[in-house]
């Protein structure tokens, strides 16, 4: 293949919509705290589109929009205005959505992911439509039910240039975006449906299709992979790809043509006469000063300040609450003592050792349970975590015991020292460990493994270590067991 051969090249551009964490809606003072509420209980004449009701912009939403733009390296515009985007759909009570068109909040940003730069075309604000509910499926329902609680929730829309080249890059970009928005404190990344994406996808040789309704951060890769395969198959069979809008069906993992013929000029954008221009350049300096240390900078600092690995730095800084938790734990750890535990990681500095426990062990347990760090911090405080690590360092519990304590705290609550007592997690002294080793070596069922080891099969040792761990319910140090077993086996 010649290097200039671009056939099959994929281009993806994303339009990302994130709900902003204001207290009231974008154009009316209805509360945004509508999750788990009865339908149509967070509504007023403005967000219901009743005649005569007038919108007024929420100042905080403007500020959040400017903050997002600055964090994404955009040029904030001097003045911003709102437009009406006209279309008829039951989730849009006025027959138009108030959004931005010319004069958005900001233009021309840049986001770095891995080894590439993704250009940001624009950042603007718009209102979220209501929510449609169907009895049965969208295809079989006879009518739709509409809940306008979500109508008017502020969204920030972030539009990229078509710089992404694979579904994986798109996912990485979204991860980065989610991380940055979370750091700014303008977005709740734990909330289901708080980040929604439309994607423009094309394969060289065909037109582009717009895939709408990608409602989960994880669904992006799947939706795009399906769409690219669909387009490639059409091109391979000599059929063209037509420019169209497609709907992502998350349950089935496929995209479906929406068969609409609406194009941009059909939206008949025009300036919203009920809203006045807002001068925003004056906000820039103050808001720039409020932007916290962002993930990339924090990552670099963690590597240099705490000597953590690049991988741990990535894992610790993705979510600000994890990074904050880690730093709090590190600051509370006793400084001078050398780590006296038994694991190999102990050889490193204390902060790097703590990184293993937060990034690998704790985050692993959280992922397994599907809970966020913010939820977990209600169950395990940084102080508790330090206590667990101290118990481990002092040899009161083994690594396995320390993990058991964390699991118990996440599942049933309680304090570390109580859990050690309650669950009998205290590690065994050397006499008890030796006793367990002798027992295991003496048991009939392990005679095969002992013989194998003597024949030079080193893996047999792992089996025997496992047997001792089982017998001691993980309360004996694996390293110690290893040493004792080797010693005893040599005598045999």
């Amino acid at each position: 293949m010649k290097s200039e051969d671009r056939s099959g090249e994929v281009k993806i551009g994303l339009e990302c919509h994130a709900q902003l964490l204001t207290r009231s809606k974008l154009f009316c003072p209805c509360s945004t705290d509508y999750q788990n509420s009865e339908p149509n209980t967070h509504v007023c004449p403005t967000c219901l589109g009743l005649p005569g009701a007038l919108p007024v912009v929420n100042e905080q939403a403007i500020k959040y929009g400017v903050k997002v733009a600055l964090a994404l390296g955009c040029e904030v515009q001097p003045v911003t205005t709102f437009y009406r985007k006209n279309y008829f759909y039951p989730d849009l009570p006025r027959g138009f959505q108030i959004t931005q068109y010319d004069f958005p909040i900001a233009l021309n940003g840049l986001v770095k992911i891995e080894n590439k730069k993704v250009r940001i075309r624009r950042v603007h604000l718009e209102e979220d439509p209501g929510r449609l509910v169907y009895k049965g499926t969208i295809e079989t329902a006879k009518y739709s039910l509409v809940d306008y609680n979500r109508s008017g929730i502020p969204l920030v829309e972030i539009v990229t240039e078509p710089d992404l080249r694979s579904p994986k890059e798109a996912r990485v970009f979204l991860g980065k975006l989610r991380s940055v928005l979370g750091y700014l404190g303008v977005f709740d990344s734990d909330l289901e449906g708080a980040l929604r994406v439309d994607a423009n996808v094309s394969v060289a040789g065909g037109e582009r299709a717009e895939v709408k309704n990608i409602s989960s951060y994880k669904g992006v890769e799947r939706a795009l992979s399906f769409e690219i395969t669909r387009q490639r198959n059409l091109l391979r069979r000599g059929l063209g790809v037509v420019q169209e809008t497609r709907h992502y069906d998350e349950a089935r993992g496929i995209t479906v043509s929406m068969r609409t013929k609406e194009f941009e000029h059909d939206y008949r954008y025009f300036p919203e006469p009920d809203l006045v221009p807002i001068r925003i350049s004056g906000l820039v300096a103050g808001l720039r000063a409020e932007i916290p240390e962002l993930p990339d900078e924090k990552k670099k600092r963690f590597v240099s300040q705490y000597s953590v690995t690049q991988e741990h730095a990535n894992s610790l800084t993705f979510d600000k609450s994890v990074a904050d938790f880690y730093e709090e734990v590190v600051s509370k750890m006793p400084k001078t003592e050398a780590v006296a535990g038994s694991s190999a990681a102990v050889a490193g500095s204390s902060a790097a050792w703590v990184a293993t426990w937060v990034a690998d062990v704790l985050k692993g347990e959280l992922n397994y349970r599907g809970i966020s760090m913010r939820e977990a911090s209600k169950l395990i405080s940084a102080g508790d975590f330090v206590t667990v690590l101290k118990l481990l360092k002092e040899g009161v519990v083994t690594e396995r015991g320390a993990t058991e304590i964390l699991r118990e705290m996440l599942d049933r609550g309680g304090k570390p020292k109580e859990i050690v007592k309650k669950k009998g997690l205290a590690s065994l002294g050397s006499a008890e460990t030796e006793k367990a080793v002798f027992e295991v070596l003496g048991e009939e069922q392990n005679a095969g493994a002992v013989a194998d080891y003597k024949l030079g099969k080193k893996e047999a040792l792992n089996f025997l270590v496992g047997q001792v761990l089982k017998k001691t319910r993980g309360r004996a140090e694996p390293k110690k067991i290893n040493e004792l077993l080797k010693l005893e086996l040599q005598k045999k």
């Binding site: 009231s24 209980t41 007023c44 912009v57 100042e59 006209n86 739709s144 306008y148």
Partner: protein, 97 residues
């Protein structure tokens, strides 16, 4: 100024089914509105020039914003009062794909 086909398209965008007679009526009415606005095109304006361009005035105001303070909303019963059809606290609408 405006053709019958375009009127039909506008009808489709508004999800309205128009009869041939209605299309002719709206074609005349919309054309007359557009002709009226075309009068503005006669003004010789250089939009890039400070002196001859006209900034949109809206209501003559700028920077009108409100503080981010939630206020009580309508009750569900009040919200649904004008709706022709409701079900379990929802507005009921035709299914549109």
């Amino acid at each position: 100024m405006i053709g019958k086909e375009e009127v039909g398209h506008l009808g489709w965008l508004a999800r309205l089914e128009l009869s041939e007679a209605e299309k002719e009526l709206f074609e005349r009415q919309l054309s007359s509105i557009l002709d009226y606005f075309a009068v503005l095109d006669e003004l010789d304006l250089d939009l890039d020039s400070e002196t001859t361009s006209v900034e949109p005035t809206y209501h003559g105001k700028k920077d009108v914003v409100r503080a981010d303070e939630p206020r009580a909303a309508l009750s569900q019963a009040e919200a649904l009062r004008n709706a022709p059809k409701t079900e379990n606290g929802y507005f009921k609408s035709p299914r549109i794909l």
